[in-house]
């Protein structure tokens, strides 16, 4: 799955930056199950084809409805420069038709999380 383009963005009341992304394929329940490897997922599965929200604290959150080719991403603005590449990687690494090897992604996630933590809270 690829992010084709950012269709709109706005600054949110909580200081985050929202970007709406148009995707190459609809998001699915499987996509959000895959995202659970990297953060927390909340779901209202009976609403339409299902409403899902992925949250990776201090980095970004992703909202989407299954079957929809648009998702809404909210970035924590101060660290967006550190996290945006990882977000794109999460999308491009997902495959609907087969298993995803999450091991290299987990390694990347750890590196990103470490840099984010240092940026927000200082070195250990």
């Amino acid at each position: 799955m690829r992010i084709l383009r950012s269709v709109r963005h706005k600054s949110c009341a909580d200081g985050s930056l929202m970007k709406e992304f148009l995707l190459s394929a609809p998001v699915t329940e499987g996509f959000f199950s895959y995202l659970e490897n990297f953060g927390e997922v909340e779901a209202l599965p009976n609403l339409g084809e299902g409403f899902y929200k992925f949250d990776k604290p201090d980095c970004f959150s992703i909202r989407g409805l299954a079957g929809d080719t648009t998702v809404e991403v909210r970035f924590r603005r101060e660290v967006m420069h550190l996290t945006v590449d990882f977000l794109y990687l999460l999308f491009t690494s997902y495959r609907e038709d087969g298993p995803v090897d999450v091991a290299p992604l987990k390694q990347r996630e750890q590196a990103v999380s470490k840099r984010v933590k240092e940026h927000l809270y200082g070195p250990d």
């Binding site: 009341a13 779901a43 209202l44 009976n46 609403l47 339409g48 909202r63 809404e72």
Partner: protein
């Protein structure tokens, strides 16, 4: 070109949509033909949109004389001009009153002046959607010079008792600026009788104009110093801003398409009748609230708004989630978050923000029914999801 999917637009407190056909035609015509402007020789084809708009707004709001209606970019622009212009030359230490209901268009200019130590600001708490006039009176001190407050809350849809507050303020010699961004076109306004010194309006909400148009009515021109200077097309030999109204406050080329739309919008409102608009809005708002109250976990923050504005939250769901689901799953355009009025949210939802549905004359009963069903469906899903957790 493919037609976009139908939407139900319930974000009219931000900007009304759709606009009356008359407005679209007037804006289009203003761009298609030369305009008449003071000092311009545009021939007999040019319409004087500025005067048309001034007369239309003056007539709708009973704002006399029409020359005391001044055009600006929007309500925020008007409030900045009035607040800065009133306090100009008054030195530091003026005491100013506002309320928790204010939009940032009031709060931010005042907060900045407070930070510069030019004023002392008191923000009055609200009770059940409005400020008790007695509380206003008790907050007045010998150095109180100004009160700036909203007429109608853009979060709670409540009206303030502007008449009583104005009487109290005038008894104490306090200047009164009213932010009518949410009330012009929604509720009858009679500036002949309302005891206000300045009334602010915007073009793109209840008056059905387009964004970038707005203004204010000013009872006593000498009470406000101009804060903008420039060409007016009149008295051009003078290097000083004319004292006459409205040139005293209108420097630079006017927004002709915006004023053409504002004139058409105000005339449209007048032709329908503000009373008829208010009655329909009241009926539809009551229906929506009644229907929403049937849903589990829907907390409505004002059960009896006077304006067609309903703010609510759904237990267990972030307000932004609700807005996202309404938009993406149901095609319903709502507004979420703080609605640029941060202080009132501390009182009603703990500061987390709310979902807001706001109607206009063009909202249909069917749209209200669909919206209520959609919100209830979301609430029922959230409720069962919470129950399962």
């Amino acid at each position: 070109m493919t037609e976009p999917p139908p939407i139900i637009y319930l974000n009219n407190a931000a900007t009304t949509w759709p606009k009356p056909r008359e407005v679209l035609e007037a804006v289009s015509q203003s761009l298609a033909r030369p305009v008449f402007g003071s000092g311009r020789t545009t021939g007999s084809q040019g319409e004087d949109y500025v005067t048309l708009a001034r007369e239309a707004v003056s007539s709708l709001l009973a704002a006399e004389p029409p020359e005391h209606v001044v055009f600006t970019m929007n309500a925020t622009d008007s409030l900045n001009i009035l607040i800065q212009g009133f306090l100009a030359g008054k030195g530091s230490g003026s005491h100013v009153l506002a309320t928790e209901l204010e939009h940032n268009s009031v709060l931010r200019p005042l907060a900045e002046l407070e930070r510069q130590q030019r004023i002392r600001l008191t923000v009055l708490p609200v009770d059940n959607g409005s400020v008790n006039p007695d509380l206003v009176e008790s907050a007045i001190t010998p150095d109180t010079r100004l009160m700036v407050t909203t007429h109608g809350s853009n979060v709670l849809g409540s009206l303030q008792d502007i008449y009583r507050i104005g009487e109290i303020l005038h008894d104490h010699g306090v200047y009164f600026i009213v932010d009518g961004a949410q009330t012009a076109g929604h509720t009858p306004i009679d500036l002949k009788t309302l005891p206000v010194d300045a009334y602010v309006f915007t073009g793109h909400k209840g008056l059905f104009g387009i964004a970038g148009s707005g203004g204010f009515y000013l009872r006593d021109p000498d009470s406000i110093a101009p804060v903008r200077y420039g060409g007016t097309g009149t008295d051009s030999f003078s290097l000083y801003q004319p004292r006459e109204m409205p040139e005293r406050f209108e420097a630079g080329t006017q927004n002709y398409p915006g004023l053409a739309g504002l004139a058409a919008g105000a005339n449209y409102v007048a032709s329908v009748g503000v009373k008829a608009i208010a009655e329909k809005a009241e009926r539809q708002t009551a229906f929506l609230i009644h229907e929403l109250n049937k849903g589990p976990g829907i907390e409505i923050h004002n059960d009896s708004p006077e304006l067609p504005i309903i703010s609510f939250n759904i237990r267990g769901l972030d307000n932004d989630d609700v807005g996202f689901i309404l938009a993406r799953a149901y095609g319903i355009v709502a507004r979420t978050g703080l609605h640029c009025a941060p202080l009132v949210h501390r009182a009603v939802d703990g500061g987390s923000g709310s979902v807001r549905l706001s109607l206009s004359w063009f909202t249909t009963d069917e749209e209200c029914r669909i919206a209520a069903e959609a919100v209830r469906e979301i609430a029922e899903n959230a409720d069962s999801s919470l129950g399962a957790a």
